[in-house]
Symmetry: C3
Subunit: 311 residues, 3 copies
Amino acid sequence: MRLPNPIPLTQIAKMINAEIIGNPDTLVTGINEIHKVVEGDLMFVDVAKYFKKAFQSAATFIIINERVEPPKGKHLLLCDNPFEAYNSLTKHFSPTIPLNVSISDSANIHPTARLEPGVVVGHQVTIGAGTWVRANTVIYDHTVIGADVLIHANSVIGADAFYYKKTNDNWEKWHTCGRVVIEDNVEIGACCTIDKGVSGDTIIGAGSKLDNQVHVGHGVVIGRNCLIAAQVGIAGKTILEDGVKLWGQVGVAARLHIGADAQVYAQSGVSRNLAGGQAYFGSPAIPATEWFSDYRAAKRLPREVEKLKKS
Amino acid sequence: MRLPNPIPLTQIAKMINAEIIGNPDTLVTGINEIHKVVEGDLMFVDVAKYFKKAFQSAATFIIINERVEPPKGKHLLLCDNPFEAYNSLTKHFSPTIPLNVSISDSANIHPTARLEPGVVVGHQVTIGAGTWVRANTVIYDHTVIGADVLIHANSVIGADAFYYKKTNDNWEKWHTCGRVVIEDNVEIGACCTIDKGVSGDTIIGAGSKLDNQVHVGHGVVIGRNCLIAAQVGIAGKTILEDGVKLWGQVGVAARLHIGADAQVYAQSGVSRNLAGGQAYFGSPAIPATEWFSDYRAAKRLPREVEKLKKS
Amino acid sequence: MRLPNPIPLTQIAKMINAEIIGNPDTLVTGINEIHKVVEGDLMFVDVAKYFKKAFQSAATFIIINERVEPPKGKHLLLCDNPFEAYNSLTKHFSPTIPLNVSISDSANIHPTARLEPGVVVGHQVTIGAGTWVRANTVIYDHTVIGADVLIHANSVIGADAFYYKKTNDNWEKWHTCGRVVIEDNVEIGACCTIDKGVSGDTIIGAGSKLDNQVHVGHGVVIGRNCLIAAQVGIAGKTILEDGVKLWGQVGVAARLHIGADAQVYAQSGVSRNLAGGQAYFGSPAIPATEWFSDYRAAKRLPREVEKLKKS
């Protein structure tokens, strides 16, 4: 997430009761996970084996639980529980506030947009011209919806990331402070769920069409003019380039990359990056031609082995 | 879709700015896709390789983009963009009108039907005697629900078909003008989605029971007393005869036919027509006995090949 | 289900017009299916081949359709249609009453709990301190929700069991009279569905986290600190011990037992009991190491057979 305005490092340190190792006269401009950090961002690390990765990241500020020498250009915030400190900051700068009314006063809804009965719109949501949200759909805080978007009934846009940190036997929740951004001319089916990014944006590219009961995880980026059939699930942070087609009930694992115009046949399970322009099938998904040739070979094999046994 | 009353061909031609090739003194009685046309219907064709199929169809009127001789008994409407012309006609005769109230004034709801809080009922919906619609379910325009039906909470009945035409890189939406028809004694679970037919009806046969999170695509026809378990998805225009059982998370591809009393085990993916009275398994689904025998053979094979290598 | 207070057997017999074979001066304390009965409970049996199982169960009272000698300590209620009689009793003692208001007057909601717009809360629901129910979620009658639970938008807690009895060609519904119990610190995603037990409880253990579009069937018991990813479906009466992880789109069949800390990879289909502490994959799911070794062997096999054919 971007901070509303740059915050002095000393102020951040005070909020989380941390010691500054580095230059206190600097300004923090954003807070992000390691995968998403840019210059000026604050992140956290609490396991020694990830220190190196953190120090090589683009982050300028790192909350850490060990007294070490900061790399050049980086500043550390030393405290006991970096995760808790990080979560308290994202909660402070992007709190989740319960809704008391169906349409928040802070929502910015274009006069030509149509919201049907039962639609709930959270704080600071933006809805563009000509967009139509059908009955009982719920749009969480900070969602940005472009023009001429159609969202069918009972969908949920912007629920929290399914993202937890294991501490002892418990699952501690990462506070979600990202957004959902839906570009122009997108259509979203009924009973879909599109989660916010943990600290960045989940994006549905212009002209893409989602069927019913599609689940899009936190921080997923879908390109332009993609076609996503019913009951597909896409796990967190996966990227689909333009023109990708996922047929019914396909599942895509987290943090993957699917190239432009790739096509994945129904019920496949994508567990690796896929090159664009090809068709895939199976769970795990492989090139469809390979899958069908494997399948035919497997069907033939028992008879061939029988023959060999007799020869 | 049936037109509310027969419309002179000259009037239709004027609406889409088309030239009549054939007899202008005829009446159009319906508008449909090629798969659904009957005598008196209007359809469109815009690719030369499908002209023959269109001319052999039951349609009486064909919007077309090439000046050709009409076959006997057929009349052509010549224009530049038949798809756009077709879509503008279905939109004109069956417009989708946003709801301003939870229960449309034009809905025809039997006095013994019960609608719980948050239920939304669209224009010209019919709901029969003793039917119970639980909280926050949304019923789109023109849906017909019989007697003694139970629909659980947060389901969506009658959302648009997921049906697009590719033009350049964009997906142009076919306007949905069909309906959903739910017969007597059906039970539909929570968070289900049942889409309208594109131009015909999606039908759920009497006595059939659907579990939660079931998706039924546009124009699907489900017979009587079928059992559809949770998270099943059935793609567009597939037909299930009576007594079919689909277990959890089964997916069925589009335009298929499943025979009476067929049973498909959990998570299977149906990619072909299935004969009735048998059990199926796998993705793609094959007869269950064959699947299990293949599976056992495949498990045995590596050891047998090892033995052969040693002999 | 437990009866609100013990009921004399004579009164029960009168309600269902049955003849008592046994001691009429006894008290019925609960009504349950055969899998769930404890001493004092009433159950039914209507097929001779299950009489023995019924007589060996813990039930004290059995509705039956054949005049037989009751086993020691058991009392029979003889009537023509035991299933109908049983269903009429559960309906009588635990009727499903349509909601006229969004929040039932009989709901017991802690003052610190927050319910967003569009939330519907049924009769005799309990909601604990600090619990937050997001917009348009529907909670059916008798649900018990603990403290600090978060339920996202458009979920449905406590819909009816998908549980029918075949009579001729029809599916007769078992009346659902169980509950859903959600313990403290649980998080439930958007568009989830958690069904009531048929006559017992569906339980989500403390600290467990469910992603979006998860389906939990009737009578399922989920332990503490489980992690259930998006679009998972768990069929009726299955038990998950503590710390189980099910990844996206996993399906679990009915009446199974999954041991503590077992982990099931995405899209797997669990068709048998799984021992705890291991990872599983495939449909049907087997130990993941076995699955991958089978997969590699199958990939190698055609080439090996070719070699053998040439040798």
